[in-house]
């Protein structure tokens, strides 16, 4: 009898827990997207701040399995490395007992052989903003030591001696004294080590330089990327769609807004304070006069307001990330320009920015939006790779094929006197100048294409080159970074 009562109690407890679980599924997970389609709830700071964390994405990941065995990944490929890495970073940054020390180059060289994962970002990120994007406040001692971060390394060699390193590209700061659980990252790294991963080597190893250049590039790649069919996010042939966008930006009856159609196919909406221009190529530009509200420029508040503005003005494409922050000036007022880029199929979309915009740019003064420019492609399909199609080239292949061309540009840019400098010395300088190589999708829509092709971006001493990843031809030859 007593046993029956006990079974009944257990059954009841099971039903209660099942109910709680199902209610949580229904009211917490499902309606999140439902709520966002309504206006209410957007005033909550929690929702806004958690959204900010979506805007940091690494450009590439380098995984060291120990010694000189390393893998490189240009997209996450389902391992959730960044999401898991972020949890570790939060634990470290929130800890009160951290030990912070600057590493010498030889210390870092020694640490480079340890089992670790490195996250490389496309640009330096303000450490303070980086913390805010992780939804926490990084301690002033760290911010004072390293004001900007361009890469982060999490070392996983021993559970008793785990630490992280923050770098701005020239200096390295070790944060230790915090115990963090890295099992989830370790499991993923173990899985990658068992997979057919892309090996990566330093420039020093690959190109046999005398001095150290620890830029990582692969000798071979074991995957092929497809071209992507795209379409403009704004249908400039539809007046209804254009009017809908104008309504969104002016937030008033269009009867009070002047509409002008230009001979080049662009359309302008204007009132006394604001101007919206929709170009035929799908680029949108919005400008407005801002009122002096007495507020001082605040980087974090400006970023937060810029993201909120994007939320309510056509939204953010999937995998958008903060690319860079510039300090700007207009009529003696100082402000910030935020450039957001986005990834398609895991890779950033790039173009010759002088000819075509491929990002969302927001200028902020007094923490208010002064201008908003955007041009986004929507993916609609992929070009099917035929089995007979040639394999994709590696970054090394690209360097090998274009070596003379790039070296000539390097000599020109750096005013190197070839009569006074030996050929070996020039080679060494050039090889040491290579500081980045990554994969991207290239928008060459200026040629009328609506296909993005995979390319290698190689950066050498302040110049950025774009190469077709299949035939190695130069798409864009050495624009300033």
């Amino acid at each position: 009898m007593k046993n029956i009562e006990r079974i009944k109690s257990l059954l009841l407890a099971f039903l209660v827990f099942t109910t709680i679980y199902l209610v949580q599924q229904l009211w917490v997970e499902f309606p999140e997207s439902l709520f966002s389609s309504f206006a209410f709830g957007q005033e909550s700071n929690e929702i806004k701040e958690s959204e900010i964390s979506d805007f940091i994405l690494p450009e590439k990941y380098v995984i060291n399995f120990g010694g000189n065995s390393r893998a490189i990944m240009y997209f996450d490929d389902g391992y959730q490395l960044w999401n898991k890495g972020k949890e570790i970073l939060k634990t470290v940054f929130q800890s009160k007992n951290i030990k912070l020390e600057e590493m010498t180059n030889s210390d870092f060289e020694e640490a480079r052989k340890k089992r670790a994962i490195g996250f490389y970002f496309s640009n330096d990120m303000h450490t303070f903003i980086f913390g805010k994007m992780l939804d926490l406040d990084i301690s002033p001692s760290i911010i004072d030591s390293i004001k900007q971060i361009d890469s982060i390394f999490i070392y996983l060699d021993s559970p008793l001696d785990n630490f992280i390193v923050l770098s701005n590209g020239t200096k390295y700061f070790k944060i230790s004294g915090v115990s963090f659980d890295y099992k989830s990252v370790k499991d993923e790294i173990d899985a990658i080590s068992r997979s057919d991963f892309t090996r990566v080597y330093t420039i020093t190893d690959l190109l046999a330089t005398s001095d150290n250049n620890n830029t990582y590039i692969p000798l071979t790649v074991n995957f092929n990327l497809s071209q992507i069919y795209v379409r403009k996010e704004i249908d400039t042939l539809s007046e209804i769609e254009e009017n809908n966008i104008a309504t969104l930006f002016f937030n008033r009856d269009l009867a009070y807004i002047r509409r002008i159609e230009e001979s080049d196919g662009s359309v302008i909406y204007v009132d006394s304070q604001r101007t919206l221009k929709l170009y035929e190529n799908g680029t949108l530009e919005f400008f407005r006069n801002i009122e002096s509200n007495g507020e001082n420029n605040n980087l974090y508040l400006s970023l937060k307001n810029a993201i909120d503005f994007g939320n309510t003005h056509m939204g953010w494409p999937k995998d958008t990330y903060l690319y860079k922050v510039d300090e700007i000036e207009f009529e003696n007022n100082k402000g910030y320009k935020f450039t957001f880029k986005y990834k398609l199929d895991g890779l950033p979309v790039v173009s010759d920015e002088e000819q075509v915009l491929n990002s969302i740019e927001i200028e902020m003064f007094n923490n208010q939006v002064k201008s908003y420019r955007r041009h986004i492609w929507e993916a609609i399909g992929k070009v099917t790779l035929k089995s007979s199609y040639k394999s994709m080239l590696s970054a090394y292949d690209i360097l090998d094929r274009n070596y003379s061309f790039m070296k000539a540009k390097f000599i020109e840019k750096n005013n190197i006197d070839i009569d006074l400098t030996s050929a070996e010395e020039i080679d060494e300088k050039f090889k040491l100048g290579i500081n980045n190589a990554y994969l991207a999708y290239y928008d060459n829509s200026t040629e009328g294409n609506q296909v993005l092709k995979p390319v290698w971006i190689i950066e050498v001493a302040g110049l950025s080159y774009i190469f077709d990843a299949y035939d190695g031809y130069v798409e864009n030859g050495g624009n300033p970074r």
Binding site: F65, P159, D205, L206, A208, T220, L399
Partner: protein, 186 residues
């Protein structure tokens, strides 16, 4: 009661410690056995770089060999493997092995004639098997005959595992002894 708790704690320690050390191993080599690979370089016209810090690797590792020379020169790359080597316990340096090795035991496993491109290098990956590798780059030309040689020792997984087991046992043994004493005193 206290003894039982202590026994449980020790058993847990025995379970946890080996996994920690197995992970920390990570394929790296014992620093005591680390040696510098001395190149038998004759001329700098052709040079071999190997991305192995001490020239000692483990079976299954991939090494990068980079041939360096002047743009346009022709180089012959030859890789030999000697599987008939005796690994002495705790004394496996390349020099000590080279002293006892029979030259005839080296078998040619790779031979390539290559021309160095504009960048003056030629990189090549090699997946290692157990044995002693001899890597030879030879430049033949009007200016003479130049050669660079490098050796890489690849230990078998069984050797590496043995080293690891020895390390584990040396730390775990005192713990096992303590457990035995506790059980015996019960």
């Amino acid at each position: 009661m206290f003894k039982k708790l202590l026994t449980m704690a020790l058993i847990l320690a025995v379970i946890c410690i080996p996994s920690t050390f197995a992970y920390a191993g990570g394929g790296s080599t014992d620093s005591n056995s680390a040696i510098k690979v001395e190149s038998q370089k004759i001329e700098k016209d052709v040079q071999i770089n190997v991305n192995s810090e001490n020239g000692i690797q483990t079976e299954g590792d991939v090494i990068l060999i980079t041939i360096k020379g002047k743009k346009g020169i022709t180089v012959t790359l030859e890789v030999y493997l000697n599987t008939n080597i005796k690994m002495k316990e705790n004394a496996d340096t390349i020099e000590s092995i080279l002293e006892s090795v029979n030259v005839d035991d080296f078998e040619l496993i790779l031979s390539e004639d290559l021309e160095l491109n504009d960048n003056g290098v030629y990189p090549k990956e090699i997946k290692l098997k157990k044995g002693l590798y001899k890597i030879v780059a030879t430049k033949k030309g009007d200016s003479g005959y130049h050669r660079d040689v490098r050796y890489v020792l690849c230990k078998g997984i069984d050797d590496a595992t043995k080293t690891l087991d020895d390390a584990k046992n040396s730390i775990v043994s005192p713990v096992i002894d303590a457990i035995k004493k506790l059980i015996n005193s019960k």
